[in-house]
Symmetry: C2
């Protein structure tokens, strides 16, 4: 345990790979899903909750906040009671749909192959 003047990790964190930075954000449990949900039109908080079905309030709230921070989504509050809040894709968010669609298209085409691979792995694992 020797002391050192500069911790190498601090450098890494100070200048992270831009691609990792972006992928870490959108590549979480829910972001891609929410962005997909917002494609057809502006939606409200509870509407997203219902459509996704198995996300917790807190996670939806956090996910939307991050997407807003990163400029993917715009949040509009109407000062009514009960409150009304609408979420819309920004131009940046909309431009992201293009690569996202490629990904979804790939997933759609290759899902069967993946399921097959899982089964094959399971059966071949009966070597234990």
């Amino acid at each position: 345990m020797t002391e050192r003047l500069i911790d190498p990790d601090s450098l890494k964190l100070a200048q992270p790979c831009p691609i990792r930075d972006v992928l870490d954000r959108v590549g979480d449990q829910w972001s891609l899903l929410v962005l997909g949900m917002l494609e057809p039109r502006t939606k409200r908080f509870n509407e997203l909750m219902r459509e996704i079905g198995d996300i917790s309030k807190q996670m939806l709230s956090r996910t939307l906040k991050r997407l807003e921070q990163d400029g993917f989504v715009a949040r509009t509050v109407y000062p009514e009671v009960p409150p009304r809040v609408e979420y819309t894709l920004t131009d940046l968010g909309r431009s992201f749909l293009d690569p996202l669609k490629q990904l979804v298209g790939w997933a759609d085409v290759n899902h069967r192959a993946i399921v097959a691979a899982r089964r094959s792995y399971e059966t071949s694992a009966e070597r234990a």
Copy 2:
């Protein structure tokens, strides 16, 4: 809390959206990164560890195992001592690189805009 014959959630879990199924797998902290690392050539475990730098052994092990299960990656063990294990992209894994590259390209182009959005959000948050 009434009893019911069928839990609706069980149906949801039994027949998940194929796209969510796939995206949940690749859309975790490390999978995309590992797939990217394997693009140029076959690599060994510790080689991946070193290149990624901030992944734990256990997570790399788990990530590789899932990628193998899902058919993205092939694992070859050479029965030597000390052991040698190589990881290679399968055809399926390689085909996934195409949409992944789109995503990486987008991230590369739009990273600046995202960083700018974060800063703008921070300053505008001085309304508290």
